[in-house]
């Protein structure tokens, strides 16, 4: 077994990653998918269908809101924006992930002390 065989389940990071992307800018789904696939915290390819469905679910849960945005001519796309509830959810995620980082660091420390005798 090598490091590549061990998969830490990070797929649940998709939701906090979407919240994080929406903190700074209102964004439409098309652009969110492009940005998500460039984020280091996302493991593997994000399917477009998965992201669009997740956006709908997050809107139903009140974490984000959407409205149609367009200029005088051309395409209108649904743009997503973070709600106050979404911002709180992002803060909760960050706290939980920081706690997890401490657990992982503790594990690595113990492992290294055994390895180094």
């Amino acid at each position: 077994m090598c490091a590549d065989d061990v998969s830490v389940p990070l797929e649940k990071l998709t939701q906090p990653a979407i919240l994080l992307l929406l903190v700074t800018n209102k964004t439409h789904g098309y652009e969110l998918i492009q940005k998500l696939n460039q984020m280091d915290c996302i493991d593997g390819e994000m399917e477009a269908a998965t992201v669009y469905r997740m956006l709908r679910r997050m809107e139903q849960e009140g974490l984000i809101v959407s409205r149609w945005e367009h200029g005088e001519f051309g395409p209108a796309r649904r743009q997503y924006e973070l709600t106050a509830q979404g911002r709180k959810s992002l803060d909760d995620w960050a706290m939980a992930l920081k706690a997890r980082v401490k657990q992982i660091e503790s594990f690595i420390l113990n492992y290294n002390s055994i390895e180094n005798g």
Partner: protein, 272 residues
């Protein structure tokens, strides 16, 4: 004399089922309004509007068709409301169907007696998207000449006006395999082979990769335009000349509402 109001909707063939379902929701609010629902390939729909056809709602299988043919003279704004992906559809009577897989589909189509069909790229986005899938597959699998070989084998007798016609051809056994949208494939209950995301035109993350391929389409008047590869999207608009804007707006609101999204999802489309 019947003085019923009539809402005229023209849409891409691939949207047949969801549009009908949305009309039923529309009738809950406007039971006395007659709805004239007609469909064609998306470029054929746009040609009809250019030739003066009176339409209140137009829903097409590619936002590029709006940009290329209808904006700004006939349409101001179009709403991008759904996405899809390309697949290879077949049924249990298709030749060599027991041997086809994600890895063998090119061999089955090219080496066997199996026949396959696509829609007309000059009339229908599913047609030019099929030609893009073949070009992308040539790159992805490093198979020089794949596009030309597939294009040569898919003769004129296997090119249909619109994507929904391909389903009829497969049902009737006229062809063994069709290059089709996943949504139409699911609606018709066919089996299918899915392609990798770098080929199936589903993922905005690969927009730059898809844009490497192009297809030249010819209009009714003989003019040509170049269509670049892009993620599949569907869009809807209310033409400037619509005389039923309030009713048309209500219909578009239904299509993009949570109820409309559920209909799209049940029909195999992804609401976006």
């Amino acid at each position: 004399m019947d003085n019923k109001e009539v809402l005229k909707i023209l849409h891409a063939g691939a949207l047949r089922k969801p549009m009908k379902e949305c009309v039923h929701l529309f009738w809950n609010d406007y039971p006395d309004v007659e709805v004239a629902l007609d469909f064609a390939g998306s470029r054929a729909c746009a040609h009809a509007i250019l030739e003066g056809r009176d339409v209140d709602v137009v829903a097409l299988a590619d936002p590029h068709v709006f940009e290329d043919m209808l904006v700004p003279e006939h349409v101001d704004v179009f709403f991008v409301f759904a996405t899809d992906q390309m697949v290879l559809a077949y049924d249990e009577f298709s030749q060599h169907s027991s041997a086809i897989s994600k890895d063998s589909w090119m061999d089955v189509l090219l080496e066997g007696r199996a026949t396959f069909a696509r829609s007309d790229h000059n009339l229908d986005p599913c047609g030019y998207r099929t030609l893009m899938v073949w070009q992308l597959a040539e790159k992805f699998y490093s198979k020089p000449g794949l596009f030309e070989t597939l294009n040569r084998k898919c003769g004129q007798e296997h090119i249909y006006p619109k994507s929904i016609d391909l389903g009829g051809a497969l049902l009737e056994g006229k062809v063994d395999y069709i290059f089709e949208y996943l949504s139409v494939t699911k609606q018709l209950g066919f089996k299918y082979i899915g392609f990798p995301e770098r080929i199936n035109l589903s993922n905005p993350a690969y927009a730059d990769y898809y844009a490497q391929v192009t297809v030249t389409v010819t209009g009714k008047g003989g003019g040509v335009s170049l269509v670049k590869g892009a993620p599949i999207e569907f869009a809807v608009a209310i033409p400037q000349k619509s005389s039923k804007k309030e009713l048309a707006n209500h219909f578009v609101k239904i299509l993009t509402s949570p109820e409309g999204e559920k209909i799209l999802e049940d029909c195999g489309l992804i609401s976006c």
